[in-house]
C-alpha cells in the first residue's frame, strides 16, 4: 500500500526535471527578472536646496550632509527598505530604479554612498570562514523580531530552485554545531537575551550575519521602547546584507562571500563591475 502511494510521487518528482540554477552572484540571475533592488544614486543630478528624497524616505536612509556648497543628500543603503519612494520623489532623476541586489558587505561603511568608490579594488573580509571550515557551512538562524518577510526568503533557499545544500550550506538546529549565526529582525527587547545565548553557545570561531535591513540597522521597524536598531552594538557582525527582504540570490551571494567563493560587489554604496570571468565559476 505504502509503495503504491509513494511511487507516483517519485515519478512525479522525476518528471519535474532539474530546476536548480547556478549562482554566480552577478548580473541578472535567472528568475530575478524585473526584481527591484537598491535604487541608484547620482548626486551629479541633484538640484540645490532640494530635500524631496530625504522627506520621502521612511527609514531615514537618505540624509542631507553639509559640503562645499548647499547640503547634499547621501544614502546609507544599510537603512534602505527598497520602497523606491526616493525614485518617485526626486524631480531630477538623481535616484533611478535598479536591479542591484548583491549588497552583502563585510563592513558597514561600504553600504554608505561615497564618491571615491567608483573604481573597483579588492575587498578582503575581516575573516573568511573558508579558511576555517573548508567549503561547508552550518547556519543557525535566529529571528530577533522580523516581519517574517526575511524568513520567507530564507526558507526559499531550501526549495528546489535554489537548493542551498548543493552549495555546502545547511541550516542546523543546535547553535553548538553552527559556524554562522544568521540573524533577522531589529532585535526586540525580549529576543536580545535568547540571541546572545545562542551566540555564546556557538563554538569558536563563530561568525555573524545581519540579514535584512532590520538586522543591519533597524530599518522601518526598529527603535521605540520595545525594539533595538539591528545587530550593531549587540554582536560582532561579519556580514551585513540589507534588503527588505534580501532576495534568495543575495543571501546566497553573501554566504558565498563568507566562503570566499565570490567577491564583494558593493563598495561605497555602489556595485563595482566584476572582473571578466575566467573559466567556469566554482559554484
Amino acid at each position: 500500500m505504502a509503495l503504491k502511494a509513494i511511487l507516483p510521487w517519485t515519478l512525479f518528482g522525476l518528471t519535474q526535471g532539474k530546476v536548480t540554477t547556478r549562482w554566480r552572484g552577478e548580473g541578472a540571475e535567472p528568475g530575478q527578472a524585473a526584481f527591484l533592488g537598491m535604487p541608484r544614486f547620482d548626486p551629479g543630478r541633484c538640484q540645490d536646496h532640494c530635500r524631496e528624497c530625504a522627506d520621502a524616505c521612511l527609514p531615514g536612509a537618505i540624509t542631507l550632509v553639509p559640503g562645499e556648497g548647499p547640503e547634499r543628500p547621501t544614502v546609507d543603503y544599510g537603512r534602505c527598505v527598497v520602497c523606491q519612494m526616493c525614485v518617485e520623489a526626486c524631480p531630477t532623476g538623481a535616484f533611478t530604479l535598479a536591479s542591484d541586489w548583491a549588497f552583502g558587505s563585510g563592513t558597514r561603511d561600504d553600504l554608505v554612498w561615497t564618491r571615491a568608490a567608483a573604481s573597483p579594488r579588492g575587498v578582503t573580509l575581516k575573516r573568511e570562514i573558508r579558511r576555517v571550515f573548508g567549503r561547508s557551512l552550518h547556519i543557525r538562524h535566529v529571528d530577533a523580531g522580523s516581519c517574517n518577510g526575511c524568513e520567507s526568503e530564507l526558507q526559499a533557499l531550501n526549495n528546489p530552485y535554489y537548493n542551498l545544500h548543493r552549495l555546502g550550506a545547511f541550516f542546523t538546529a543546535s547553535p553548538r554545531f553552527a559556524d554562522l549565526l544568521l540573524v533577522t529582525g531589529p532585535v526586540t527587547y525580549a529576543m536580545r537575551g535568547p540571541l546572545l545565548e545562542a551566540f555564546e553557545a556557538m563554538p569558536e570561531p563563530r561568525f555573524v550575519m545581519a540579514a535584512g535591513t532590520c538586522a543591519v540597522s533597524g530599518g522601518t521597524n526598529g527603535g521605540g521602547c520595545t525594539c533595538g536598531s539591528g545587530l550593531d552594538g549587540v554582536l560582532p557582525v561579519d556580514m551585513y546584507l540589507p534588503g527588505c527582504p534580501p532576495n534568495p540570490p543575495a543571501i546566497i551571494h553573501a554566504l558565498l562571500m563568507l566562503l570566499q567563493r565570490v567577491p564583494q560587489r558593493v563598495r561605497g554604496g555602489q556595485l563595482v563591475p566584476l572582473e571578466p570571468p575566467t573559466g567556469e565559476p566554482r559554484v
Partner: protein, 499 residues
Amino acid sequence: MSGSPVVVSEDLAPAELVTRCRAALGEGARMQFMYAWFPEGPTAPELRYVLHPGSGCPPHIWRCRPGDDPPPSLATTAPLLSWYERETTDLCGVVFRDQPLPQPLVLLPGASADRPPLVPGPMPHLSYTPAPEDLPQLAGTTREDVQLLPFGPIRADVLESAQFAFLYAGEMILHYHPQLFFKHRGMEQRFAGLSPRLGVFLAERVSGIGSVAHALAYCHAVEAAADCEVPRRATWLRVLLAELERIYNHLHYLGHLCHTTTLKVGEAQGKYLEESAKQINSRVSGSRLLRGLVTPGGLRREPQLAGLAADLAQLESEFRRYTDRLAATTSHLDRLMTTGVLGRQLAFDQGATGPVARACGLDRDPRRDQSYGAYAELPLSIAIDERCDAYARQQVRIAEVFNSIDVIRVVLAGLPCGWLSTECRPPPRSEGLGWAETPRGTAYYAAHLDADGRLARVKIKSPSFSNWRVFPYTVHDSNMMDYAINEASFGLTVAGCAR
C-alpha cells in the same frame, strides 16, 4: 473608499456595554475587536468596539469614555475580546473591571514600562528581567508522569521565534501554553506622527507575507478618513495583487504541510510552486512579496501584466497536477483527517478568521460580506468546508488558489481604463476604519489623524492574533505526534500576532 459600506458609530455609556454586547450577540452579531486611543490627552482614553451586526451589514463602532471608574470587561460575554482588553491594559493603561485573566499579554513576564507605551507623551522606558511563565496548575492532579516540555523561543530550522510550553503525559498533551510576544516590536506606536502616505510602508511590514492585504486595510482606513474614491482601474489591480498574495501564501502552506506529514516530494513541489509564484510576483511588481505598489488613493505604478496570463495558466496546470496527487496520497490525508478539530461554536466565540473559520463551516469573507474595492464586480466563490479538521483547512486553501487564479483571469480580461490613483489627504482630526481579507483571515486597521493631518493612532487587528488565540483549544488533549501537523494546518504567523 469606493464600493465599501458606510460605517455606523454610536456612543455608549460604560454601564450599557455588557447589556448591549449581550443583545447584539443574541441578534447574531459578531464582535471583531476593541482598542483604546487618546483623542483628548493622556488622561482621557476612549474605547472603541468594532462589531458586525450580521453578514452583509457594514461594521458598527461603539465609542465609550470610561471616566473615573474602570470599564467593565466584556471577556465573559464575548470571549474573543479578552486578548484585546489585556493588550489595552498593557499598552494603554486601561484596566477592565472583572477581567477574568488580568495577566499581561503583550509584555512578557518580567517586562514593565514606566508608562503605557501607547499613551501620548515621552517615550517610555521598558525594563525587563525575564521571569517564568505563569503556567496553570493542572487541577487535582497528583500524577507524577505529567512532564513540562518548554520549547523555544528559538526553534529548529528557519522559523519565527515563539515559546511553547507543553504539559504532557506519555504522548498526550494535557495543556499547551504559547508565548507569542517575544517578537513584539510596538508596530502600532511606530505609526504615530507619520504622514499617511509613508504609513503604508509600515503596514507592509507588520506581517511581511501579508504585505498587500495589510497595506490595503491600512489604505482603506486612510481613504475612508479622506473620503476619497479610488479609481476603478486601481481597485481592479489591487484585487489582482491581493489574489497573487493569496496564491503564493497558500502554496507555501501546502509545501510546509507536506513537510509535517513527511511527504518529501510533495514538500519540494509545493515549495517549487511557491517559488514560481514569487517569481511571477517579481515580474509583476518588482517585489517578490508584492511590496511598494499599494498607496493611499490607488497604486504607485502600473504593474507589469505582460505574460501574466500565460504564467498563471502554467502555474494552474502544475497546481492541478500537484493537488490531484495530494488527493490520491492516503498517507498524507490520513494524517490530516480528524487532526486539530475546531468546533464551529468555539471558532465563532474565540474569533477564528479566514480559511480556519471557513473550514469549520463559518461562511464569512469580507470580500463578499463587507465587500471592498472591486470584489463585488468579480466572480468570487467562497470556499467552505464543514469538516473542521486539518484536512478541511487544506481543502479550503486549495479551493482558494483555484478561485484566485480565476479572479485574476477576469481582472486581466476586463481591466478598466483610467487613472491609477487619486489624491488622498485625510483632513485633520479625521478617522477611518478599513479592512481586507489576507491569506490568513481578516485584517482591520483603524486610523486616527491629528490636528496636522498626521497619524495620531493606528490600531492593527491582524488575523494571526485572532487565530493564535483559537489554536490552543485544538491542542489541549491532543497527541504530541499531531502537533506539528496541526500547527502547520492553521498557517499562522507570529509577526502578525506580536506586531
